[in-house]
Amino acid sequence: MVAVAVVIAGAVWLFGNTLDNLANRGIASGFSFLKSTAGFGISTSLIDFSEASSIGRAFWVGLLNTLLVSAISVVLATILGFAIGIARFSKNWLLGRVATVYVETLRNIPLLLQIFFWYFAVLRALPGPRQSYDLAGWFFLNNRGFYIPKLEIIDGGGWVLLGAVVMAFLAFWQCRHKGISRSCAGLAVLLFISLLAVGSVSVPALTGFNFTGGTVLSPELVALVIALSSYTAAFIAEIVRAGVQSVPRGQIEAADALSLPDKDRMRFVVIPQALRVIVPLLTNQYLNLTKNSSLAAAIAFPDLVSVFAGTVLNITGQAIEIIGITMAVYLTISLTIAFSMNIFNRTTAMRGLSS
């Protein structure tokens, strides 16, 4: 109790002292800046944002972009990492070597360099907007990004669409179990009609400098996702390899004795046991990936660090508050990931061994 009180008192004291010193140096403090007008633009945003929005909203834009890029990269890194980790056991000599070279190359080059490599490699390889690669007149690829058609939904149409998606899910479920039936086809038609009713498709078209309409995956986002997921995949591959190797040889021999096919031996015997080793280590990689996403600032992807700890910090100059908030956000994200992975870990851990 005494120790806790001392720590709390120390923290409160530091906080008060900092505020005093800031005031004495004539530096503004407090959080009121979050309500003031942003006045700057952001290229990629998942929510509505304009120059007239508040700085608080710019914070959310940055946070959502960080979560977006982390979530996509975590999924891709996991898939790629498992594939490469397992490929290292391949009896195919070439496949095994390629996987080894991949792991040794990618995990030994600094991530920032890889991000720059992908960004400028991607940018330089692509033509300008007026010479875009045209895929069927619907998709366009150029050095401003990958332009894809967008489904635009009228106001309030979201609920209709949500209902339609639920019905579509039911339809697919029906189809899987009973084959094509009348009800299944009916639901599919219903979904199609509701889409027509509430949505329209906006196709990108070249106007002036660039394409308008549709939606765009920016080269920054693409480069960042490629770099983060391919880099982390190299580490995940090693974790998967360690996990698989930790499965006692007897288990594999037992599977062979039951004459399980290779595929099933991996799927039902090796992987479930390997997961016990893999999952806790995987958590670390997910945490690293999320934290590494802050390197986005180097290639102009508007993540939390770039927008909030970059532009906003420059505009307001309130370094202590902004860095404090940013650190708290990353801490929260990391603890949330760790917490959910721990829950997942409990489901894979061996009964009786975990506490």
Binding site: A9, N17, D20, N24, S43, E51, L123, G208, A300
Partner: protein, 338 residues
């Protein structure tokens, strides 16, 4: 806990009270050098040359201050800083002067705990585009992707300009100016926007400078000047009057080459006060009478500095326009030494 709540702030004030307020002049005299925050490489303003020494008008300004305060222009250590780091470094005393093509704005002056000592260069934000786009005016930039540097006034001016004229744009915001340029080169953006002097400087780094056009529009006021930490008026005065000495010398016709002769024999009272043979300008600043002479001997007057780093003797070839003296149609005006 109740007691702690009252006790703690009291202890805070009691123990650490105010920020250390030892004068900057005493600190640097003790150290033997001053630390000058510069850009991360902007030709003409502050950029390392092939031998690794910093050249440019901003770098030379720090040398002038070192000559004034410490007696030698070589007693400077340069610290390259991004815009984002610059003010924090100054606030907490890591650098003694920020001479880094930063814009003097109300927020920076009043809320960041810094003071701007004056204006070294009158700039304004402009646009650079590829010639082959056929754009002749900034009003034709609707829908363009614009590469800019993060954390400067640039982002805000840009958004104001496009909003005012009802145009749309995509900002592509980088932390370092080299990356802005690389992205522009790679074709990520149609437009490169920064202070116009910066555009001239960055254009030199492009392989075919002639293929790029700097548009005529200036969309903002960017007064660039040195800044010091708030709360040390003595140091503030020294930095501010070093700047005035450079401008004043040009007005009085004092140059690097003739100052030695003028110190020996001149009857012009304004020049005599400048070189310290009359009056007590040096003493008022807490310095010796020769303070201004050393500044001019070190770097020359403002006009010489400008032509050497930015004007006709440099690769940038920027015309002086607003940066002429007040009596030649420009804005530079130094209060009298008396």
């Amino acid at each position: 806990m109740q007691i702690l709540r009252y006790l703690v702030p009291f202890l805070g004030v009691a123990l650490f009270g105010t920020a250390s307020s030892a004068g900057t002049l005493d600190t640097i005299k003790e150290k033997g050098w001053l630390t000058c925050g510069v850009s991360q490489g902007l030709p003409g303003f502050s950029a390392p040359d092939s031998k690794g020494s910093w050249v440019g008008i901003d770098a030379d300004f720090c040398r002038a201050v070192a000559a004034v305060a410490l007696g030698s222009p070589d007693k400077v250590k340069f610290r390259p800083l991004s815009t984002k780091e610059a003010f924090t470094a100054l606030q907490f005393g890591e650098i003694h002067i920020l001479s880094r093509n930063v814009t003097w704005t109300q927020t920076r002056d009043s809320a960041l705990g810094v003071n701007f000592a004056g204006i070294l260069y009158y700039d304004g934000q402009g646009f650079m585009v590829r010639r082959k786009l056929g754009v002749k005016s900034a009003r034709e930039l609707d829908g363009a992707a614009v590469c800019v540097n993060s954390g400067s006034t640039t982002e805000l001016n840009l958004s104001d300009y496009f909003r005012t004229h009802g145009m749309k744009y995509t900002p592509v915001v980088f932390e370092k100016s080299d990356e802005v340029l690389s992205a522009y080169r790679a074709g990520r953006c149609d437009v490169f926007s920064t202070d116009q002097s910066g555009l001239y400087a960055q254009r030199l780094k492009l392989p075919k400078a002639k293929d790029h056009l700097i548009l005529p529009e200036i969309i903002s006021k960017e007064p660039l000047g040195p800044a010091v930490r708030q709360g040390d008026d003595k140091w503030f005065n020294i930095v501010r009057w070093t700047l005035f000495a450079l401008v004043g010398a040009e007005e009085l016709g004092i140059t690097k080459s003739n100052i030695e002769a003028l110190t020996q024999k001149t009857s012009n009272p304004a020049i005599r006060r400048f070189v310290g043979t009359e009056g007590k300008a040096g003493a008022n600043l807490g310095l010796d009478p020769e303070w201004a002479v050393r500044a001019i001997k070190a770097v020359g007057n403002y006009g010489e500095l400008f032509e050497k780093h930015l004007g006709k003797d440099s690769r940038l070839k920027i015309s002086r326009d607003l940066n002429r003296l007040w009596n030649k149609g420009g804005l530079h005006y130094a209060p009298p030494i008396r």
